[in-house]
Structure formats: structure tokens, C-alpha cells
Amino acid sequence: MPSDVQSNTSLPFLDVSDPAFSIRSQAVAKARDGSWCARTPYGLAVLRYDDVQKMLRHPKMRQGSYRWPSHNDVTGNFARWWENMLLSQEGNDHARLRRMANPAFSPKLITSLKPRFEELANRLIDDFAPRGECDFIAEFTEPYATGVICDLLGLPIEKWRDLADIAGDMGLALGVTFKQDLPRIEAATQRIFAYAEELVEHRRKEPSDDFIGTLVKANQDRSQLSDQELLDMIVLAIFGGIDTTRNQLGLAMVTFIEHPDQWALLGDNPDLARAAVEEVMRVRPTITWVTREATEAFTYNDLQIPQGTTVHLFSQSAGSDPAEFPNAEFDITAKRSPHFGFGGGTHHCLGHFIARGDMTEALKLLARRLKNPRFNGNAKWLPDSGNTGAVTLPIAFDQA
């Protein structure tokens, strides 16, 4: 007899809502050894590589965070955007929006930005390298991640601070104090839409084949991409591209500081940078789980999953699952199964060519120019679950 999720107390329990909970803890590894899934205060957690892989593609699962604003009893401009944007859509509407957005995110368009990634990274490193120390987040990953988005949108790089602040304020919507922070979130939403409208207006007057120009072209057929959907997509690119890249590059530096031979190896072999991005995202993904919801009741591995069950797919514990990675130690030269740091299936990250491209260039240059990086004072961290990373990361290094 398959057993029900809620009543099955033989399943391990993980209190993911405890601020002290760590997704990299022994408790999670132990739960994974004994069971493919665990109970949490909000639904199920899937722990093993093979099951995360299957669940990401399961036809009875949909993306699970679309209800977040209503769950928090929040309405307004942010909520309207959140519920309508690509990530919250499913089926035909999702496919239509994704088809319309694809050309703007194509590998060809992104490859053309590579020299700009390099230039930006070098300029930021120039500013702090002579000091032999920096706050890696404030002085590198944040301006870099935001500068890349400025380049993508065709905004002058000087706008990065403004954009980073807006993204930061909007990001408060993902936290537990969503409702209290609503006035700030709404103000940021208004400002981000003002940017999007200005960019579109400009590109309508001066058409081009850049990112915004390509989206504006898709919008010529309004039945396929309406004016509102065009703006919603631009806002999603800004919102989805900044904090993720900032956090992921910070986690890359932390991982390499903990593995100095790997950093030296990368410094001597810049061609390993692309593989290094993948290996970092396997062992330290910033998005440590993605959320799904069961659209109908079904049975999986003898467990009854009722309709409406929230399911967290743990990319972090999948990436260190000994069944898939018997030698899980961080190694940028190892041949690995793919990680889930960009999710998977229909909602697979649309910005992954950009993120992979800009992080590869950054790691290449950083490893060449900063030798022997080490921790240099107290880092400040987001909780080690959900979307994680360092908020401040003081490091010291020897200039090459």
C-alpha cells in the first residue's frame, strides 16, 4: 500500500524554515542515505540525484512558487507581475512566452557580448588588485553581475548601482518579511518598470538586433507577445539575472579558497574555466532547491502525493549524492553528470548562456590575476538554504 505524504512519520523531517537549518548539514546527508525524500514544514523535499532529475520532468508537476504573493496575502504591482511572468506560467502560455523570448537569449547573441564581460571584469579587478584585498561581493560580484545586465540591456554601466538597489529591494519579496517590506518592494517594482518602458520606447525608435531590439521585434505580433508581456519579460531578466550571478560567483570564490590547488590549476589552465563553473554549481549552487507543485494526485516510489503538494527539489543534496558522484570531492578536471543549478525541464534557466558565459570569463581572469586568495575577516551569509550566498566576503590575495 502506498502511504500518504503527511501521515508518513517514517519519512525523515527537515525543518527548512529554521534560520539555522543548513542544506549542507549532516542531517540532510543522513536523510538522503535512508530515504529519497523528507518531510518539511511546507511539503516534501526530494534529496537524491535520480529523483530530482525525474521530478523536474514529471508531467504532473508545475512550477511551485506562483502562489507566493497570495500565500502571503499580498496584492499590487509586484504580485501582478509575479503571477504573470514566464516562471509562473505553464502549458501553452509558458511555451508561447518562452518561444518569443528565446531569440533574445540565444547563444549567438550572448557570444557577441563576451569581450564586454572581459573588459568589465578586468576593470573591476584593476580597481582593487593593488590593495591585495577587497570585499569580493561589494567590489566584484555585485558590480559585475549588474554590469553584465546593463550591457545586455544597453544601459550605461554607471547605472549598475541603481539597478542593483532595485533588484535588491524587489528581492525582499522572496523573504519571510515580504508583507512588511511591501512598500519598498512596490516602489522598486515601479522603478524597474520605468526602466523597461524607457528601454522599449528607445528601441522602437531605433531598432537593432540587440537584446531589447530582439524582444521588441517579437512584440510586433501582439497576439504572441503583448506590450505588457514584453515589459514583464524585461523585468524578469533584470530580476532573475542579478542576485543569482552575484551569489553564484561569490560561492565560486569561497569554494576555491577552500581548494587552493584547484585555484592554482585554473590559473595555469584558463581553458578549465568553463568546467569550473559547472563544478562549482554542482557543489555550491546558489539556488539550493527549486519548487514544484503536484497538479494532480499521483504515486511516486510508493508514496501517494496528493494534488497541491509542494515539492522542493534539492539541487544541493542531488549534487553531492554518492549514488551519482562516488568521488564527490570538488575537482574541476573530473567528468561529471550534469548539475541542477539552473533547474531543468520546461523552466530550465533561460539566462544560462549569459550566466555561464560571464562566470567563465570572470573566473578565467580572477584566477590569472589573484593568487592564493584567502579569507580576510568575517563574511556575512544568507541562510544556507533556499537562495544562498555571501553578502559580504572580505578576501586577501597576492597580486599576480
Binding site: R98, S106, P107, H352
Partner: protein, 61 residues
């Protein structure tokens, strides 16, 4: 026009099914199916699917 998919690289994301539904589909067991020699009129769709594939597993000739 010829279409090849490197099934060792393919992770069944289905982005090709979204980009070019007239060429790519999943069967009832969730396996990827595709037309190996679709009509030339579908070239734009085929290129869009190759571009959109996260694993870059699609080759259009």
C-alpha cells in the same frame, strides 16, 4: 534539411518541443521523438530549437 540529436547529451528538458513543436515531441514514455528530415519550410523552427537546447545537443544540417 537533416536533424540529429546527440542523445548522450540530451537531458529531456523539452525546450526543442517548445521551440519547434512540429519537429520535436515526447512519446508517452517521455522519450524524445523528432523528424529526421523535416520540410525545408521548418528551417527557422529547427534553428530556433538548436539554439534553445540548453545542452546544445541538436545539429541541423
Amino acid at each position: 534539411m537533416k536533424i540529429k540529436v546527440d542523445l548522450d547529451a540530451c537531458l529531456q528538458h523539452g525546450q526543442c518541443v517548445i521551440a519547434a513543436p512540429e519537429i520535436f515531441s515526447f512519446d508517452d514514455d517521455g522519450n524524445l521523438q523528432w523528424k529526421a528530415a523535416p520540410d525545408e519550410a521548418l528551417r527557422d523552427d529547427a534553428e530556433a530549437a538548436a539554439d534553445a537546447c540548453p545542452e546544445q545537443a541538436i545539429i541541423v544540417e
